[in-house]
Amino acid sequence: MTHASSLWMLFLSIPALACAQDIPARGADVFAKTCATPYCHGPKGAGGGAPKLAARGFDEIYIASVTRAGVAGTSMQGYGSTLARADFNAVIAYVASLNGVDPRGAQIPEPARLSPQAARGRDLFFDSVRGVDRCSTCHQVQGLGIAIAPIAGIPATPVALRNAAAPDVRTARVGADHFPALIVSVGGRRTVLYDLTTPPPVMRTVESAALKIADDNAWRHAAIVKSYDDRELESILAFLRSALLNALPASPPATLPAGVRPNPRP
């Protein structure tokens, strides 16, 4: 990093000094790093594998909505949660400037910050170093992770989290094979279920006639929560409380621990 750009970063890291004139310059930097390869929008939005963005008559509202949500079915991901808020606003202002719109600066406030423990819990929840042995292999929070088992309630303690029984996890038998299964749908001909033998869960479609579902309900969450110790689970629970408190029912059903959805029995 050159002397000049080091100064730039230092300067920008002080929010009070990030006045409107700096925003397009910061936006240009974000754009150059995130958006400008020939596979995507090209330098200065001139176009590449993805559409040209300069001189298209786009206004800030349109630019912000596409940048936040992305474009389904393409590589244009939503940057609403991946870019830092100040960077997001700056890049919107920059693309607006490519369309002759005067940048007005930040419109979206920073989201509330997590406590240090909850922030650590968030890192643990999604921890890629653990490979498939992490929460986000089966659970989605804030749009990230795989939504196999919606989180219907937050256990109070790590012990409760480990001991949690899951009423809709059953034992499925297909021929000589048997495995813990989360039932997705039961049809006359075919049943769809998640095979929980080993993470990641496999969604299998099985001939209903060849399938036997035992109601033994012996599976416990502890069987897959192996890579975390109690202290780490405390942090994860703190993260879930921060992230999901407003999204969950005020008093979650006592019989449904984390990782379990209410599910009609076949």
Binding site: M1, T2, S5, A32, K33, T34, A36, T37, P38, Y39, G42, P43, G48, G49, A50, G70, V71, A72, G73, T74, S75, M76, Q77, G78, T82, F126, S128, V129, G131, V132, S136, Q140, G143, L144, G145, I146, I148, D177, D195, T197, T198, P199, P200, P201, V202, M203, R204, T205
Partner: protein, 560 residues
């Protein structure tokens, strides 16, 4: 002198065939795997269509998928008179290989959101009564081969979190479906996964970047290993006699800024040999330590047995994005030789006899550095072919350079992680262009060159008819004489070529099938090199050619 070289090479082939069993990578009536066979020769032993009659080749039937997003990039699979074809958005079609009749179709449930790298797919694998596909939102799916009904699917990892997805065809080895992923231009740590073909359960995972405590971890600075790239985004090969799978590993990340990952950055830009049952590393050879040019070594591994200095060796020939072919002993990874397949390269001046890079031209932070070839590669992912009849390797090459602009970037898992940008530039010796070449695969002696004015991004197909087929972005599908490079036949298919043609036979009749439809990240990124690229047309059509029925003799070697 050139002619003498040809005879010499042919003589070696005959001696091999006459004296000892050597690995045979030829396809016959079927085209059962992505690279033809386990050995990835992209060579068919069918010879009904040959240099003497190829001028009479004519369309037999056409199948339009109607799903033309990002062109048609796949290699079809042909088994028992049925073709299996996938589109970039992961729809799959089973077609009667004689008539083109649709037997079943699988409509992939499209992701609701955006997906890193977008929709691209290079083909399916078919084995054990199942069709396997990796998807652009990072699932592996298994279908019933007879009905197209889904049997299982597994989300390998949330594509938003890993900044990765699957574009490559799976490799099926025994009862394992082995799948690589993209992610090399994201803050991502690459890996290969093996799933049980019957149940979809994960059998093993091999991380291309060693974790703490593992050998090779010391080649990464600080935490850089966590998001250091090493994607496995193309399809590997398999040697059953050694029970080894071979896979090319992609670039280190961030692509252009390497200041935060000082060290060799194993096993990025390497060929790795893994135990096919456990995924354990047996050997590796790193072609590009500490990559700073986005020169993935992720492409196909062509397995062949050839004589080297008087001794028959089990070889692996591997072309990387930097435009060099590396020749390795596939038993132990020993370096045998390397040679350029492009005319314009300046990122190194050469490779020593020990396989070390010489004269690295490294891009400088916050300056523009002119590098040849471009980050799109001296060769893209479209595959080479090897013919045991000529003994030559047929390679597609790109003569395009770029200015690299390097700037430090912080890693954020799953987010793009380039550490700079690249701007396409012409090479020093003339306009941007392509060529197909024939090489002695061991010595790198060039036998002939077929020049072309735009970008050749379709795979090579070699046949026992001594033909090499490929297509161009203007829509021409054409056949070259495998011994001279002369263009013998060409047909305007109406859309550009980015897929991989195959040869197969049913009831004594040989067919050549080629996907058509321009698209892909690289074809888009290269477009600024040629104003005419505006006219290269997208599409999604399978064109199938054969000789007129009244003019053919039954194809030998056909199982039907």
């Amino acid at each position: 002198m050139k002619v003498f070289g040809c005879f010499l090479a042919a003589g070696i082939v005959l001696a091999q065939n006459g004296s000892r069993p050597i690995a045979d990578g030829a396809t016959h009536a079927d085209w059962p795997q992505h690279g033809g066979t386990d050995l990835s020769w992209r060579y068919s032993a069918l010879d009904q269509i040959n240099t003497s009659n190829v001028t009479r080749l004519a369309p037999a039937w056409i199948f339009q998928t109607g799903d033309y997003e990002m062109g048609l990039q796949a290699t079809p699979i042909a088994i028992g008179g049925v073709l299996y074809l996938s589109t970039s958005r992961n729809n799959i079609y089973a077609l009667d290989a004689v008539t083109g009749r649709l037997m079943w179709q699988y409509k992939y449930p499209q992701p609701r959101g955006a997906v890193p790298y977008g929709p691209q797919n290079r083909g399916v694998a078919v084995a054990d009564g199942r069709v396997f596909e990796g998807t652009y939102d990072n699932y592996v799916v298994a279908l019933d081969q007879n009905t197209g009904l889904e049997l299982w699917r597994v989300n390998v990892e949330d594509s938003k979190q890993c900044g990765c997805n699957i574009t490559a065809a799976p490799l099926v080895v025994k009862d394992s479906v082995i799948v690589g992923g993209t992610g090399g231009d994201s803050a991502h740590r690459g890996y290969l996964s093996a799933f049980d073909a019957g149940t979809g359960r994960l059998k093993w995972r091999f991380y291309t970047i060693p974790g703490p405590g593992e050998k090779g971890h010391e080649t990464w600075k600080g935490d850089s290993w966590r998001f250091g790239g090493g994607a496995t985004w193309m399809t590997g090969s398999y040697d059953a006699s050694l029970n080894l799978i071979y896979w090319g590993v992609g670039n280190a990340a961030s692509d252009f800024y390497a200041g935060d990952r000082t060290g060799d950055n194993l096993y990025t830009n390497s060929v790795v040999a893994l135990d096919a049952d456990t995924g354990k590393l047996r050997w590796h050879f790193q072609e590009v330590p500490k990559d700073m040019w986005d020169f993935d070594s992720s492409y196909e591994c062509v397995l062949m047995d050839r004589e080297v200095r008087g001794r028959m060796r089990k070889l692996l020939v591997h072309v990387n994005k930097g435009g060099f072919a590396f020749v390795l002993d596939r038993v132990n990874g020993e370096f045998i030789g390397a040679y350029p397949i492009i005319d314009n390269y300046n990122w190194i001046t050469g490779v020593t006899e020990n396989g070390k890079l010489v004269g690295r031209k490294e891009p400088v932070e916050n300056k523009s550095t002119y590098i040849c070839p471009s980050a799109a590669g001296g060769k893209s992912w479209n595959q080479v072919a090897f013919s045991p009849r000529t003994g030559w390797l047929y390679t597609p090459s790109l003569e395009v350079c770029n200015d690299l602009l390097v700037s430090r970037e912080d890693a954020k898992e799953g987010a793009s992680f380039w550490g700079g940008n690249f701007l396409m530039k012409p090479p020093p010796d003339g306009p941007p262009r392509s060529h197909v070449d024939a090489y002695d695969p061991v010595t790198g002696n060039r036998q002939w060159t077929f020049p072309y004015r735009y970008s050749l991004l379709a795979s090579m197909l070699a046949t026992a008819g001594d033909l090499v087929f490929t297509g161009d972005p203007e829509g021409h599908f054409f056949a070259l004489d495998a011994r001279t490079g002369a263009r013998l036949w060409s047909f305007e298919t109406g859309a550009g070529h980015r897929g991989s043609a195959i040869a197969y036979a049913v009831s004594g009749r040989q067919f050549i099938a080629t996907p058509t439809g321009w698209g892909s990240l690289v074809s888009n990124a290269l477009a600024p090199a040629w104003p005419e690229a505006e006219t290269f047309r997208n599409g999604s059509t399978l064109m199938v050619f054969a000789l007129p029925e009244d003019s053919i003799k039954p194809q030998k070697g056909d199982s039907k």
